[in-house]
Protein backbone atom coordinates (compact mmCIF):
# COMPACT_ATOMS: atom_id res chain seq x y z
CA UNK A 1 0.00 0.00 0.00
CA UNK A 2 2.77 2.39 1.03
CA UNK A 3 4.79 1.43 -2.05
CA UNK A 4 1.84 2.15 -4.32
CA UNK A 5 1.39 5.54 -2.69
CA UNK A 6 5.10 6.32 -3.21
CA UNK A 7 4.77 5.34 -6.87
CA UNK A 8 1.80 7.68 -7.22
CA UNK A 9 3.76 10.54 -5.67
CA UNK A 10 6.70 9.79 -7.98
CA UNK A 11 4.44 9.89 -11.01
CA UNK A 12 2.89 13.17 -9.79
CA UNK A 13 6.33 14.73 -9.27
CA UNK A 14 7.43 13.69 -12.77
CA UNK A 15 4.24 15.12 -14.29
CA UNK A 16 4.67 18.42 -12.39
CA UNK A 17 8.31 18.68 -13.48
CA UNK A 18 7.37 17.97 -17.13
CA UNK A 19 4.52 20.53 -17.03
CA UNK A 20 6.76 23.27 -15.68
CA UNK A 21 9.34 22.49 -18.39
CA UNK A 22 6.66 22.79 -21.06
CA UNK A 23 5.29 26.03 -19.64
CA UNK A 24 8.68 27.75 -19.85
CA UNK A 25 9.64 26.45 -23.26
CA UNK A 26 12.27 29.09 -24.09
CA UNK A 27 14.03 28.60 -20.78
CA UNK A 28 13.88 24.81 -21.17
CA UNK A 29 15.31 25.01 -24.69
CA UNK A 30 18.17 27.20 -23.40
CA UNK A 31 18.92 24.76 -20.57
CA UNK A 32 18.72 21.84 -23.00
CA UNK A 33 21.16 23.56 -25.38
CA UNK A 34 23.80 23.90 -22.67
CA UNK A 35 23.30 20.31 -21.57
CA UNK A 36 23.60 19.23 -25.22
CA UNK A 37 26.83 21.21 -25.55
CA UNK A 38 28.37 19.46 -22.54
CA UNK A 39 27.34 16.00 -23.79
CA UNK A 40 28.55 16.79 -27.32
CA UNK A 41 31.97 17.99 -26.18
CA UNK A 42 32.56 15.16 -23.74
CA UNK A 43 31.41 12.49 -26.21
CA UNK A 44 32.95 13.84 -29.41
CA UNK A 45 36.15 15.08 -27.74
CA UNK A 46 36.83 11.81 -25.94
CA UNK A 47 36.10 9.65 -28.98
CA UNK A 48 38.16 11.87 -31.27
CA UNK A 49 41.13 11.64 -28.89
CA UNK A 50 40.76 7.88 -28.58
CA UNK A 51 40.45 7.43 -32.38
CA UNK A 52 43.61 9.44 -32.93
CA UNK A 53 45.49 7.53 -30.26
CA UNK A 54 44.62 4.16 -31.81
CA UNK A 55 45.34 5.58 -35.29
CA UNK A 56 48.85 6.63 -34.24
CA UNK A 57 49.33 3.27 -32.49
CA UNK A 58 48.41 1.39 -35.68
CA UNK A 59 50.66 3.68 -37.69
CA UNK A 60 53.60 2.83 -35.40
CA UNK A 61 52.88 -0.87 -35.87
CA UNK A 62 52.55 -0.62 -39.62
CA UNK A 63 55.56 1.47 -40.54
CA UNK A 64 57.73 -1.63 -40.41
CA UNK A 65 60.90 0.13 -41.54
CA UNK A 66 63.03 2.23 -39.19
CA UNK A 67 64.78 4.16 -41.95
CA UNK A 68 64.09 4.78 -45.63
CA UNK A 69 66.71 5.76 -48.19
CA UNK A 70 65.14 8.05 -50.77
CA UNK A 71 66.58 10.18 -53.58
CA UNK A 72 67.96 13.58 -52.60
CA UNK A 73 65.21 16.19 -52.14
CA UNK A 74 62.44 13.60 -51.73
CA UNK A 75 62.36 13.53 -47.92
CA UNK A 76 59.29 15.76 -47.55
CA UNK A 77 57.45 13.96 -50.35
CA UNK A 78 58.14 10.55 -48.80
CA UNK A 79 56.85 11.72 -45.41
CA UNK A 80 53.74 12.94 -47.22
CA UNK A 81 53.39 9.53 -48.88
CA UNK A 82 53.47 7.78 -45.52
CA UNK A 83 50.87 10.10 -44.02
CA UNK A 84 48.51 10.92 -46.85
CA UNK A 85 49.36 8.55 -49.70
CA UNK A 86 49.99 11.51 -51.96
CA UNK A 87 51.51 10.02 -55.11
CA UNK A 88 55.03 11.20 -55.90
CA UNK A 89 57.70 9.23 -57.65
CA UNK A 90 61.48 9.36 -57.77
CA UNK A 91 64.20 6.79 -58.27
CA UNK A 92 67.59 5.75 -56.94
CA UNK A 93 70.20 3.10 -57.60
CA UNK A 94 69.28 -0.40 -56.46
CA UNK A 95 72.88 -1.09 -55.38
CA UNK A 96 72.16 1.05 -52.32
CA UNK A 97 70.13 -1.87 -50.93
CA UNK A 98 73.32 -3.94 -50.76
CA UNK A 99 75.24 -0.99 -49.31
CA UNK A 100 72.62 -0.63 -46.59
CA UNK A 101 72.59 -4.38 -45.90
CA UNK A 102 76.36 -4.29 -45.25
CA UNK A 103 76.05 -1.42 -42.77
CA UNK A 104 76.55 -2.20 -39.07
CA UNK A 105 73.31 -2.32 -37.08
CA UNK A 106 71.09 -3.07 -40.10
CA UNK A 107 69.00 -6.25 -39.73
CA UNK A 108 66.94 -6.35 -42.95
CA UNK A 109 66.68 -4.35 -46.15
CA UNK A 110 64.21 -4.34 -48.98
CA UNK A 111 63.42 -2.02 -51.86
CA UNK A 112 60.16 -0.61 -53.16
CA UNK A 113 59.18 1.09 -56.38
CA UNK A 114 56.55 3.82 -56.40
CA UNK A 115 54.58 5.14 -59.32
CA UNK A 116 50.98 6.20 -59.77
CA UNK A 117 47.81 5.67 -61.73
CA UNK A 118 46.24 8.46 -63.75
CA UNK A 119 43.12 10.22 -62.48
CA UNK A 120 40.71 8.82 -65.05
CA UNK A 121 41.79 5.24 -64.54
CA UNK A 122 40.53 3.75 -61.38
CA UNK A 123 39.12 6.04 -58.80
CA UNK A 124 38.98 9.47 -60.36
CA UNK A 125 41.99 10.14 -58.19
CA UNK A 126 45.61 9.19 -58.53
CA UNK A 127 46.48 6.10 -56.56
CA UNK A 128 49.96 5.30 -55.34
CA UNK A 129 51.16 2.02 -56.84
CA UNK A 130 53.79 0.22 -54.78
CA UNK A 131 55.83 -2.65 -56.14
CA UNK A 132 57.57 -4.69 -53.47
CA UNK A 133 60.04 -7.55 -53.51
CA UNK A 134 58.31 -10.63 -51.99
CA UNK A 135 61.72 -12.25 -51.38
CA UNK A 136 63.03 -9.60 -48.99
CA UNK A 137 59.92 -7.64 -47.99
CA UNK A 138 59.17 -7.04 -44.31
CA UNK A 139 56.92 -3.96 -44.57
CA UNK A 140 53.94 -5.17 -46.63
CA UNK A 141 53.83 -8.96 -46.37
CA UNK A 142 53.29 -9.27 -42.59
CA UNK A 143 50.00 -7.43 -43.11
CA UNK A 144 48.73 -9.52 -45.96
CA UNK A 145 46.74 -12.66 -45.42
CA UNK A 146 49.15 -15.42 -46.52
CA UNK A 147 46.32 -17.34 -48.17
CA UNK A 148 45.53 -14.26 -50.27
CA UNK A 149 49.21 -13.88 -51.06
CA UNK A 150 49.47 -17.46 -52.35
CA UNK A 151 46.53 -16.77 -54.65
CA UNK A 152 48.25 -13.67 -56.08
CA UNK A 153 49.37 -14.44 -59.60
CA UNK A 154 51.09 -12.27 -62.17
CA UNK A 155 48.91 -9.33 -63.06
CA UNK A 156 46.98 -9.45 -59.79
CA UNK A 157 47.19 -6.72 -57.17
CA UNK A 158 46.47 -6.18 -53.49
CA UNK A 159 44.60 -3.01 -52.57
CA UNK A 160 44.72 -0.74 -49.51
CA UNK A 161 41.66 -0.42 -47.27
CA UNK A 162 40.47 2.82 -48.90
CA UNK A 163 40.87 1.73 -52.51
CA UNK A 164 37.61 0.56 -54.03
CA UNK A 165 37.68 -2.23 -56.61
CA UNK A 166 35.15 -2.44 -59.43
CA UNK A 167 32.14 -4.75 -59.21
CA UNK A 168 33.97 -7.65 -60.89
CA UNK A 169 36.84 -7.48 -58.34
CA UNK A 170 39.18 -5.82 -60.76
CA UNK A 171 40.93 -2.49 -60.89
CA UNK A 172 41.89 -0.64 -64.06
CA UNK A 173 45.31 0.90 -64.63
CA UNK A 174 46.29 2.46 -67.95
CA UNK A 175 43.40 0.86 -69.79
CA UNK A 176 44.06 -2.68 -68.53
CA UNK A 177 42.05 -4.55 -65.91
CA UNK A 178 43.90 -6.23 -63.04
CA UNK A 179 42.23 -8.78 -60.75
CA UNK A 180 42.23 -7.83 -57.07
CA UNK A 181 43.64 -10.72 -55.00
CA UNK A 182 42.90 -9.17 -51.60
CA UNK A 183 42.40 -6.09 -49.50
CA UNK A 184 44.77 -5.06 -46.71
CA UNK A 185 43.44 -4.23 -43.26
CA UNK A 186 43.22 -0.55 -42.33
CA UNK A 187 46.51 1.09 -41.35
CA UNK A 188 45.35 4.69 -40.91
CA UNK A 189 48.31 5.78 -43.05
CA UNK A 190 48.76 6.75 -46.67
CA UNK A 191 49.20 3.04 -47.43
CA UNK A 192 45.41 2.67 -47.21
CA UNK A 193 45.20 4.52 -50.51
CA UNK A 194 47.89 2.46 -52.21
CA UNK A 195 47.85 -0.59 -54.46
CA UNK A 196 50.51 -3.26 -53.93
CA UNK A 197 51.97 -5.63 -56.49
CA UNK A 198 55.02 -7.70 -57.33
CA UNK A 199 57.70 -6.43 -59.72
CA UNK A 200 56.38 -8.59 -62.58
CA UNK A 201 53.00 -6.92 -62.38
CA UNK A 202 54.70 -3.55 -62.07
CA UNK A 203 56.66 -4.14 -65.31
CA UNK A 204 53.40 -5.09 -67.05
CA UNK A 205 51.68 -1.88 -65.84
CA UNK A 206 54.70 0.23 -66.80
CA UNK A 207 54.48 -1.21 -70.31
CA UNK A 208 50.76 -0.37 -70.46
CA UNK A 209 51.56 3.15 -69.22
CA UNK A 210 54.20 3.53 -71.92
CA UNK A 211 51.64 2.57 -74.58
CA UNK A 212 49.38 5.32 -73.25
CA UNK A 213 52.21 7.84 -73.37
CA UNK A 214 53.22 7.87 -69.67
CA UNK A 215 56.95 7.39 -69.27
CA UNK A 216 57.83 6.74 -65.64
CA UNK A 217 61.31 5.42 -66.36
CA UNK A 218 63.80 6.65 -68.91
CA UNK A 219 66.01 3.87 -70.38
CA UNK A 220 68.87 4.88 -68.03
CA UNK A 221 66.55 4.48 -65.00
CA UNK A 222 65.81 0.79 -65.73
CA UNK A 223 66.26 -1.38 -62.64
CA UNK A 224 66.11 1.57 -60.27
CA UNK A 225 63.99 1.71 -57.11
CA UNK A 226 62.10 4.49 -55.32
CA UNK A 227 63.15 3.70 -51.78
CA UNK A 228 65.27 1.29 -49.80
CA UNK A 229 63.63 0.30 -46.53
CA UNK A 230 65.81 -0.55 -43.57
CA UNK A 231 64.94 -2.51 -40.44
CA UNK A 232 67.55 -1.89 -37.74
CA UNK A 233 68.71 -4.45 -35.18
CA UNK A 234 67.17 -4.26 -31.72
CA UNK A 235 68.79 -1.41 -29.75
CA UNK A 236 70.86 -0.17 -32.71
CA UNK A 237 71.66 3.54 -32.86
CA UNK A 238 69.61 4.90 -35.77
CA UNK A 239 71.57 8.15 -35.96
CA UNK A 240 74.84 6.21 -36.39
CA UNK A 241 73.31 4.06 -39.15
CA UNK A 242 72.03 7.23 -40.83
CA UNK A 243 75.45 8.93 -40.74
CA UNK A 244 77.21 5.80 -41.93
CA UNK A 245 74.77 5.37 -44.84
CA UNK A 246 75.11 9.01 -45.89
CA UNK A 247 78.92 8.67 -45.89
CA UNK A 248 78.84 5.46 -47.95
CA UNK A 249 76.38 6.92 -50.46
CA UNK A 250 78.43 10.10 -50.88
CA UNK A 251 81.58 8.03 -51.39
CA UNK A 252 79.67 6.07 -54.07
CA UNK A 253 78.59 9.31 -55.70
CA UNK A 254 74.87 9.00 -54.89
CA UNK A 255 72.89 11.87 -53.48
CA UNK A 256 70.37 10.56 -50.99
CA UNK A 257 68.09 11.61 -48.14
CA UNK A 258 67.18 9.41 -45.20
CA UNK A 259 63.67 9.42 -43.73
CA UNK A 260 63.37 8.26 -40.14
CA UNK A 261 59.88 6.81 -39.65
CA UNK A 262 60.20 7.46 -35.91
CA UNK A 263 60.58 11.19 -36.68
CA UNK A 264 57.48 11.07 -38.92
CA UNK A 265 55.53 9.42 -36.11
CA UNK A 266 56.99 11.99 -33.69
CA UNK A 267 55.64 14.87 -35.82
CA UNK A 268 52.18 13.28 -35.96
CA UNK A 269 52.26 12.55 -32.22
CA UNK A 270 53.16 16.20 -31.52
CA UNK A 271 50.19 17.32 -33.66
CA UNK A 272 47.94 14.90 -31.75
CA UNK A 273 49.27 16.06 -28.39
CA UNK A 274 48.52 19.70 -29.28
CA UNK A 275 45.02 18.76 -30.40
CA UNK A 276 44.40 16.60 -27.30
CA UNK A 277 45.39 19.45 -24.98
CA UNK A 278 43.11 21.86 -26.88
CA UNK A 279 40.17 19.48 -26.63
CA UNK A 280 40.76 18.85 -22.91
CA UNK A 281 40.93 22.62 -22.29
CA UNK A 282 37.69 23.19 -24.23
CA UNK A 283 35.96 20.34 -22.39
CA UNK A 284 36.87 21.72 -18.96
CA UNK A 285 36.00 25.27 -20.01
CA UNK A 286 32.58 24.31 -21.36
CA UNK A 287 31.74 22.00 -18.45
CA UNK A 288 32.48 24.81 -15.99
CA UNK A 289 30.66 27.47 -18.04
CA UNK A 290 27.66 25.24 -18.65
CA UNK A 291 27.46 24.27 -14.95
CA UNK A 292 27.47 27.95 -14.01
CA UNK A 293 24.86 28.84 -16.66
CA UNK A 294 22.61 25.91 -15.64
CA UNK A 295 22.88 26.97 -12.00
CA UNK A 296 22.10 30.63 -12.81
CA UNK A 297 19.11 29.80 -15.03
CA UNK A 298 17.70 27.40 -12.43
CA UNK A 299 18.26 30.03 -9.70
CA UNK A 300 16.42 32.75 -11.65
CA UNK A 301 13.64 30.34 -12.56
CA UNK A 302 13.14 29.16 -8.96
CA UNK A 303 13.29 32.74 -7.66
CA UNK A 304 10.37 33.51 -10.00
CA UNK A 305 8.52 30.43 -8.75
CA UNK A 306 9.09 31.16 -5.05
CA UNK A 307 5.39 31.77 -4.45
CA UNK A 308 4.44 28.57 -6.24
CA UNK A 309 6.73 26.63 -3.92
CA UNK A 310 5.32 28.48 -0.88
CA UNK A 311 1.76 27.47 -1.88
CA UNK A 312 2.93 23.87 -2.30
CA UNK A 313 4.46 24.03 1.21
CA UNK A 314 1.18 25.39 2.66
CA UNK A 315 -0.89 22.58 1.12
CA UNK A 316 1.40 20.09 2.80
CA UNK A 317 4.11 19.25 0.27
CA UNK A 318 7.36 18.74 2.17
CA UNK A 319 10.55 20.64 1.34
CA UNK A 320 12.13 17.30 0.45
CA UNK A 321 9.49 16.61 -2.19
CA UNK A 322 9.84 20.10 -3.67
CA UNK A 323 13.58 19.44 -3.92
CA UNK A 324 12.94 16.09 -5.59
CA UNK A 325 10.61 17.81 -8.06
CA UNK A 326 13.15 20.47 -9.03
CA UNK A 327 15.95 17.90 -9.29
CA UNK A 328 13.69 15.75 -11.52
CA UNK A 329 13.18 18.81 -13.68
CA UNK A 330 16.94 19.36 -13.89
CA UNK A 331 17.47 15.67 -14.65
CA UNK A 332 14.78 15.62 -17.35
CA UNK A 333 16.07 18.64 -19.24
CA UNK A 334 19.70 17.54 -19.04
CA UNK A 335 18.73 14.02 -20.16
CA UNK A 336 16.91 15.36 -23.24
CA UNK A 337 19.72 17.85 -23.95
CA UNK A 338 22.33 15.14 -23.36
CA UNK A 339 20.66 12.76 -25.82
CA UNK A 340 20.49 15.52 -28.45
CA UNK A 341 24.18 16.30 -27.82
CA UNK A 342 25.14 12.63 -28.22
CA UNK A 343 23.12 12.32 -31.43
CA UNK A 344 24.73 15.48 -32.86
CA UNK A 345 28.16 14.20 -31.83
CA UNK A 346 27.53 10.87 -33.56
CA UNK A 347 26.26 12.64 -36.70
CA UNK A 348 29.35 14.82 -36.89
CA UNK A 349 31.97 12.31 -35.83
CA UNK A 350 31.17 9.07 -37.64
CA UNK A 351 30.07 10.14 -41.14
CA UNK A 352 32.76 12.83 -41.36
CA UNK A 353 35.62 10.91 -39.71
CA UNK A 354 37.71 10.66 -42.90
CA UNK A 355 37.27 14.39 -43.54
CA UNK A 356 38.32 15.19 -39.95
CA UNK A 357 41.31 12.86 -40.16
CA UNK A 358 42.41 14.30 -43.52
CA UNK A 359 41.96 17.90 -42.35
CA UNK A 360 43.92 17.39 -39.12
CA UNK A 361 46.53 15.20 -40.86
CA UNK A 362 46.38 12.73 -37.97
CA UNK A 363 45.51 9.06 -38.60
CA UNK A 364 42.28 7.96 -36.95
CA UNK A 365 40.74 4.55 -36.28
CA UNK A 366 37.18 4.40 -34.95
CA UNK A 367 37.09 2.66 -31.55
CA UNK A 368 35.09 -0.53 -30.95
CA UNK A 369 31.31 -0.31 -30.46
CA UNK A 370 31.66 -1.16 -26.74
CA UNK A 371 34.04 1.77 -26.20
CA UNK A 372 31.70 4.12 -28.09
CA UNK A 373 28.73 2.94 -25.99
CA UNK A 374 30.73 3.38 -22.78
CA UNK A 375 31.85 6.92 -23.68
CA UNK A 376 28.26 7.82 -24.66
CA UNK A 377 26.94 6.50 -21.35
CA UNK A 378 29.61 8.36 -19.36
CA UNK A 379 28.87 11.62 -21.23
CA UNK A 380 25.14 11.21 -20.58
CA UNK A 381 25.60 10.39 -16.88
CA UNK A 382 27.90 13.41 -16.45
CA UNK A 383 25.40 15.73 -18.18
CA UNK A 384 22.46 14.47 -16.11
CA UNK A 385 24.46 14.73 -12.89
CA UNK A 386 25.43 18.32 -13.77
CA UNK A 387 21.78 19.21 -14.42
CA UNK A 388 20.56 17.59 -11.18
CA UNK A 389 23.37 19.16 -9.14
CA UNK A 390 22.73 22.64 -10.60
CA UNK A 391 18.99 22.37 -9.86
CA UNK A 392 19.65 21.04 -6.36
CA UNK A 393 22.13 23.78 -5.43
CA UNK A 394 19.77 26.44 -6.85
CA UNK A 395 16.77 25.20 -4.80
CA UNK A 396 18.87 24.80 -1.63
CA UNK A 397 20.02 28.44 -1.77
CA UNK A 398 16.35 29.44 -2.08
CA UNK A 399 14.87 27.05 0.45
CA UNK A 400 16.12 28.85 3.54
CA UNK A 401 13.42 31.59 3.55
CA UNK A 402 10.32 31.22 5.75
CA UNK A 403 7.26 30.10 3.75
CA UNK A 404 4.92 32.74 5.22
CA UNK A 405 7.25 35.64 4.36
CA UNK A 406 7.91 34.21 0.91
CA UNK A 407 4.19 34.13 0.19
CA UNK A 408 3.59 37.66 1.49
CA UNK A 409 6.66 39.07 -0.27
CA UNK A 410 5.93 42.16 -2.34
CA UNK A 411 2.60 42.87 -0.60
CA UNK A 412 2.09 46.31 0.91
Amino acid sequence: MEKEQDRGVGRYICRCAWQSLKQKLFQSVLLGCFAALVAFLVFAGTLLGSSMESGIGRMKERLGADLMIVPHGQQGKTEKLLLTGNPEFSYLDRDLEQVAANTKGVKKTTSQFYFSSVSADCCSTRVQLIAFDPGTDFAVLPWINQEEMKKTKKGQVLIGADVIAQGDHTIRFYGEKHPVAGKLSRTATGLDQSVFMTRDTMNKILEDAKKKGFHFLSPKDKGKVSAVLIKAEEGANLDKIETSLLKKATAKGDKIDIVSTQKVIGTVSAQYEFFRKGIRFLQILFILTSSLVLFLIFSFSYRERKKEFAVLRIVGVTTGRIRVMTCTQGGMISLIGGLIGLLTGALVLFPFRVLISDSLQVPMITPAAVTIAFVALMALVLTVLLGVAAADIAIRTLGRAETYFTLREGEA
Binding site: T84, G85, S119, A120, C123, S124, T125, V127, D162, V163, I164, D192, Q193, L347, P351, F352, V354, L355, D358
Partner: protein, 133 residues
Protein backbone atom coordinates in the same frame (compact mmCIF):
# COMPACT_ATOMS: atom_id res chain seq x y z
CA UNK B 1 1.59 31.55 -36.76
CA UNK B 2 4.51 30.92 -34.39
CA UNK B 3 4.24 27.13 -34.85
CA UNK B 4 3.95 27.45 -38.61
CA UNK B 5 6.98 29.74 -38.67
CA UNK B 6 9.00 27.24 -36.67
CA UNK B 7 7.92 24.31 -38.86
CA UNK B 8 8.75 26.19 -42.04
CA UNK B 9 12.07 27.46 -40.64
CA UNK B 10 13.30 23.91 -40.03
CA UNK B 11 12.59 22.95 -43.66
CA UNK B 12 14.26 26.17 -44.87
CA UNK B 13 17.34 25.38 -42.76
CA UNK B 14 17.55 21.84 -44.14
CA UNK B 15 17.11 23.17 -47.69
CA UNK B 16 19.90 25.69 -47.11
CA UNK B 17 22.27 22.90 -46.03
CA UNK B 18 21.40 20.94 -49.20
CA UNK B 19 21.85 23.92 -51.50
CA UNK B 20 24.12 26.57 -49.99
CA UNK B 21 26.02 23.99 -47.91
CA UNK B 22 26.76 21.84 -50.96
CA UNK B 23 27.83 24.92 -52.91
CA UNK B 24 30.27 25.98 -50.17
CA UNK B 25 31.38 23.86 -47.17
CA UNK B 26 30.34 20.41 -48.42
CA UNK B 27 31.33 21.14 -52.03
CA UNK B 28 32.00 18.41 -54.58
CA UNK B 29 35.45 17.79 -56.10
CA UNK B 30 36.78 20.66 -58.21
CA UNK B 31 36.19 20.13 -61.93
CA UNK B 32 39.19 18.96 -63.94
CA UNK B 33 40.32 20.35 -67.28
CA UNK B 34 38.91 17.75 -69.61
CA UNK B 35 36.84 15.60 -67.31
CA UNK B 36 33.53 16.07 -65.50
CA UNK B 37 33.19 13.63 -62.61
CA UNK B 38 29.82 12.30 -61.52
CA UNK B 39 29.94 14.12 -58.19
CA UNK B 40 29.68 17.35 -60.20
CA UNK B 41 26.18 16.36 -61.33
CA UNK B 42 25.24 15.15 -57.83
CA UNK B 43 26.21 18.59 -56.54
CA UNK B 44 24.15 20.44 -59.15
CA UNK B 45 21.03 18.32 -58.68
CA UNK B 46 21.25 18.50 -54.88
CA UNK B 47 21.36 22.31 -55.07
CA UNK B 48 18.10 22.18 -57.08
CA UNK B 49 16.54 19.74 -54.59
CA UNK B 50 17.69 21.96 -51.72
CA UNK B 51 15.96 24.97 -53.31
CA UNK B 52 12.84 22.80 -53.58
CA UNK B 53 12.98 22.08 -49.84
CA UNK B 54 13.41 25.82 -49.12
CA UNK B 55 10.27 26.54 -51.20
CA UNK B 56 8.37 23.84 -49.27
CA UNK B 57 9.51 25.55 -46.05
CA UNK B 58 8.31 28.98 -47.23
CA UNK B 59 4.92 27.55 -48.26
CA UNK B 60 4.64 25.74 -44.89
CA UNK B 61 4.83 29.11 -43.11
CA UNK B 62 1.74 30.25 -45.02
CA UNK B 63 -0.11 26.92 -44.96
CA UNK B 64 -3.07 27.42 -42.64
CA UNK B 65 -4.91 24.17 -43.36
CA UNK B 66 -3.47 21.04 -41.82
CA UNK B 67 -4.16 19.03 -44.99
CA UNK B 68 -2.13 21.48 -47.12
CA UNK B 69 0.70 21.50 -44.58
CA UNK B 70 0.65 17.69 -44.63
CA UNK B 71 0.87 17.71 -48.43
CA UNK B 72 3.92 19.97 -48.20
CA UNK B 73 5.47 17.64 -45.63
CA UNK B 74 4.96 14.70 -48.01
CA UNK B 75 6.71 16.73 -50.73
CA UNK B 76 9.58 17.43 -48.30
CA UNK B 77 9.81 13.69 -47.47
CA UNK B 78 10.09 12.83 -51.17
CA UNK B 79 12.75 15.50 -51.68
CA UNK B 80 14.59 14.15 -48.61
CA UNK B 81 14.54 10.63 -50.08
CA UNK B 82 15.92 12.05 -53.32
CA UNK B 83 18.75 13.72 -51.38
CA UNK B 84 19.69 10.33 -49.89
CA UNK B 85 19.47 8.54 -53.24
CA UNK B 86 21.47 11.12 -55.22
CA UNK B 87 24.94 10.27 -53.85
CA UNK B 88 24.15 6.59 -53.22
CA UNK B 89 22.09 5.20 -56.11
CA UNK B 90 20.93 7.79 -58.62
CA UNK B 91 24.18 9.52 -59.58
CA UNK B 92 26.82 8.74 -56.97
CA UNK B 93 30.13 10.34 -56.02
CA UNK B 94 33.77 9.57 -56.82
CA UNK B 95 34.76 6.17 -55.42
CA UNK B 96 38.05 7.42 -53.93
CA UNK B 97 37.55 7.21 -50.15
CA UNK B 98 39.52 10.42 -49.55
CA UNK B 99 37.94 12.56 -52.28
CA UNK B 100 36.11 15.60 -50.86
CA UNK B 101 32.80 14.53 -52.41
CA UNK B 102 33.12 11.15 -50.69
CA UNK B 103 34.18 12.47 -47.29
CA UNK B 104 32.01 15.61 -47.08
CA UNK B 105 29.30 15.89 -49.76
CA UNK B 106 28.01 12.31 -49.51
CA UNK B 107 27.52 12.20 -45.69
CA UNK B 108 26.14 15.76 -45.68
CA UNK B 109 23.49 14.85 -48.28
CA UNK B 110 22.55 11.58 -46.56
CA UNK B 111 22.22 13.22 -43.14
CA UNK B 112 20.27 16.22 -44.50
CA UNK B 113 18.00 13.87 -46.46
CA UNK B 114 17.41 11.64 -43.43
CA UNK B 115 16.65 14.64 -41.20
CA UNK B 116 14.23 16.01 -43.82
CA UNK B 117 12.41 12.65 -43.99
CA UNK B 118 12.25 12.33 -40.19
CA UNK B 119 11.12 15.92 -39.69
CA UNK B 120 8.55 15.68 -42.53
CA UNK B 121 7.09 12.52 -40.98
CA UNK B 122 7.10 14.12 -37.55
CA UNK B 123 5.27 17.19 -38.96
CA UNK B 124 2.50 14.99 -40.39
CA UNK B 125 2.02 13.00 -37.17
CA UNK B 126 2.29 16.03 -34.91
CA UNK B 127 -1.16 17.25 -33.79
CA UNK B 128 -2.66 15.13 -36.53
CA UNK B 129 -6.27 16.05 -35.86
CA UNK B 130 -5.74 19.73 -35.35
CA UNK B 131 -6.77 22.03 -38.18
CA UNK B 132 -5.09 25.36 -38.00
CA UNK B 133 -7.40 28.03 -39.27
Amino acid sequence: MKTRLLRGAVFILLGLVASLGIATVFHVCPAMKDMVMKCYWTGRVSIAVGIGIILVGILTIFAKKKAFADGLSVAAILLGIELILLPTLLIGVCPGAHMHCHTATRPALIITGALTVIYGGFSILWKRNKIEE
